[in-house]
Symmetry: C2
Subunit: 566 residues, 2 copies
Amino acid sequence: MSPSLVANADLSPVTSGTVKGRVASVYSELQTSRIDHALPLPSVLKNPFKIVDGPASSAAGNPDEIAKLFPNLFGQPSALLVPNGADAVRSDEKLKIGVVLSGGQAPGGHNVISGIYDYLQDRAKGSVLYGFRGGPAGIMKCKYVELTSNYIYPYRNQGGFDMICSGRDKIETPEQFKQATETAVKLDLDGLVVIGGDDSNTNACLLAEHFRSKNLKTLVMGCPKTIDGDLKCKEVPASFGFDTACKIYAEMIGNVMIDARSTGKYYHFVRLMGRAASHITLECALQTHPNITIIGEEVAAKKQTLKNVTDYIVDIICKRAELGYNYGVILIPEGLIDFIPEVQQLIAELNEILAHEVVDEGGQWKKKLTKQSLQLFEFLPQAIQEQLMLERDPHGNVQVAKIETEKMLIQMVETELENRKQEGVNKGQFKGQSHFFGYEGRCGLPTNFDATYCYALGYGAGALLHSGKTGLISSVGNLAAPVEEWTVSGTALTALMDVERRHGKFKPVIKKAMVELDGAPFKKFVSMRDEWALNNRYISPGPIQFTGPTSGDVNHTLLLELGAQV
Amino acid sequence: MSPSLVANADLSPVTSGTVKGRVASVYSELQTSRIDHALPLPSVLKNPFKIVDGPASSAAGNPDEIAKLFPNLFGQPSALLVPNGADAVRSDEKLKIGVVLSGGQAPGGHNVISGIYDYLQDRAKGSVLYGFRGGPAGIMKCKYVELTSNYIYPYRNQGGFDMICSGRDKIETPEQFKQATETAVKLDLDGLVVIGGDDSNTNACLLAEHFRSKNLKTLVMGCPKTIDGDLKCKEVPASFGFDTACKIYAEMIGNVMIDARSTGKYYHFVRLMGRAASHITLECALQTHPNITIIGEEVAAKKQTLKNVTDYIVDIICKRAELGYNYGVILIPEGLIDFIPEVQQLIAELNEILAHEVVDEGGQWKKKLTKQSLQLFEFLPQAIQEQLMLERDPHGNVQVAKIETEKMLIQMVETELENRKQEGVNKGQFKGQSHFFGYEGRCGLPTNFDATYCYALGYGAGALLHSGKTGLISSVGNLAAPVEEWTVSGTALTALMDVERRHGKFKPVIKKAMVELDGAPFKKFVSMRDEWALNNRYISPGPIQFTGPTSGDVNHTLLLELGAQV
């Protein structure tokens, strides 16, 4: 227990003059210790390999339309790396590769870049890696930095995207494609790795198609990133960052659970980040066993109303009160509001009305609402009504994401409990506490799993580019096995695509992977939730460990989806 | 990286039929691994010891009044444990000891109880330990459980207070003292350990005095608990739980910092638990180096207004904008509002007015406010105005603790930035994100420091009771040294006391230890905050580790107060 504080250790000797991003940084002892954490590689990446092409691919939907949108790429096979069986042939080829981070932060992004860099060092010595700064805008504006060994070093196994930062721009218009092409030509790029979510990988594929159609040599490789966990399929079993983010949230939830049980008087309503999909909420439920968990996809499938959701919560609270429990923990996905058809309807009507009508204090404007929407509006707590009326985005639309669903539910539950008390049905006490866990999870130190997974994704992306592949997404599989046995491949991005009709045109999209109600994680949850509701089966996972017990754990969702027993 | 999920491991074989509190619990792998974590003891506790009394004590203030309030206890010396120098004399005495948890949760409480239990097992075999359930009410109602080896085992090194739960009742009235006396007699108690904060330890001392005045054999020992860190003095260098809670908050703050730097477009306003004192905020600042930290005690000492605080924040935001930084992290203590004299004045006036006046929509009622308070009221964002008017406690008073200071400050900063933009002084972008970190930190797995410190506090309390001491608070010192060298003693609770005049009578109080503006932690902070404001020196401490790097770290506040270099 001797104090060992090196928090102020200045890393400047390590980072040297070339480091821009973190030159002014000071590191905690844990951050410092993680830099040199050695990352295992799948054995196929440790030895000479060759590429084996799979069968011709199709699309996730509407293959004819996808074929039209991607004439140069559609149908290309996936590419699997297998041991060469021969001695290593050292390549003399020197590559120029660019890399970009796109969209929201996810723990592990820096390791993807480290993986690409190390591949080039190991297998194509003398190659150059450029990091485009600030996301896709960096490609369009040709804003980049050369990533050297010194530059990358302090970011190894570190959270955040601050090595080159990210951005939410898309390369969409002909002018923007032209700018991207100019950058590729100017930098003489052999390849580009786009690290992003569903939209960014769609964009990567469009770029790959564009470059090929222009006979550019620049190849494009995607990489699955998002804490939300909604970019995955059979070939791409996980998006990176999900593991770390869920474990950070689960640590907090577990702590709140022990607090709830110790205090005995609060219901904690915890809203969890995760956009449209409820993967994070489901995973956190599997890790911690809350009393109530709302899964948006189930709400949508059952066409539940806000009243249904409220009643479900209140029913359990009343049953728990009978058992003497006036406390509990309730998990709510960020996207819940979006899953409820009646809410979507109300918001659509409000957007229409508020765009054209004057909102009078007397409430005459409400007559424009359909009966069902009016009923719902009146059912909402006043604060939420005001939020719906006042908070608008630049287009004048209601800002659904800003609605604090957890606070809304607390108020609706309070009201319903009061009703039942009047009827003599409920005799319990209720005090709600609201929480939102989001930003805390996006930039944590990556777990050992995310650190290793990302490194393999990056290393594999380098290998695929080196092998002349384009329009693929880096895919690392067999993740329930030891790292040495992980598979490394590239999956045709067109194979993940479907089309959506927008403004009268077909647009390619990688469909978000939502929680599947017949999938193993949800079924596991369903098999246990009634037990969790009334009996307290709280589990507190504790903080992420980097050595010792739990440091090698993988999240439940991934293991269950891979068929492992959890 | 092999999956190692024993999250569902049922502990029932371990906990056996006698376990009540966690009989239904399932443990995470980390929780399980912590149970058997071996705790080192200070060497004085590992060997035969004797008690050396110090000089006669006085009081923290008004010793004459304290002497009158505690005629049987005032002036008693502190008691230091020193090596016996002789062989162990095995005691045949069997003790009956009670223990109670009082007030809010703090990580480590279970270890205090384990320490008491183990002392009795080691040194007074055959003794009995009773745990009073639900706080002091458990003493008054004689609601208790016998704490056996099996009962305690699953709680070792675990967070929470759920072994026997806590409560906020006080033993105050003659009737309540009578009930407590009846319990002591009924259970034939030789001693009672009260684990709590300043109020609870005051109560413990009153109980000790009462028992002695009645010639009861029951001795009473206090124990310093609170995450807020405001129960400490020279003899009691730290309250337990502070170390763990601060590290949990610092993990989250560090993650949010990396997020802020990666995204580059948000100012995160983080409100931190800690009641009246700003120790937690100061410690988190020392651990993470935020751009702006508000310390309530400084605001009070400088008699700052809300406008001053807002201007201080806005000035830095504008300077950062000039440097190209439109992001940052700002820490705010929970008790900030209470430190601002003008706000206290406004609230006092509102309480008075709202108790007697009808609040008219036209705002005529506002004429009752003094000019200064009216000005402040009009300066507040509308949402806060409404909160002040609407949210009342059962006594009709404004609920200051419910005010979301972080959101209030965001709105005030927005307004001021808009003013400056109009004047052409500010050209930056500002987006605020609010956070409140509180409940997440009260029940985490105790750090190695808190686990060890608490165990020594409990073991020492057992030794002091066994030595016939009463009215002391268990005190473990020399905490910057290795555990073997820690000192163990009991400090006279009356020595920590002063009096306050309430309802025309003197009431004894242990004064809350506030952040001292000439103390080492604050001075260290002041020496660095300007640097942190404009240059980003963020440190991300990462999650608490139980093995490996950082697992032996002690918080900065404690080390600085002990004179160590940090």
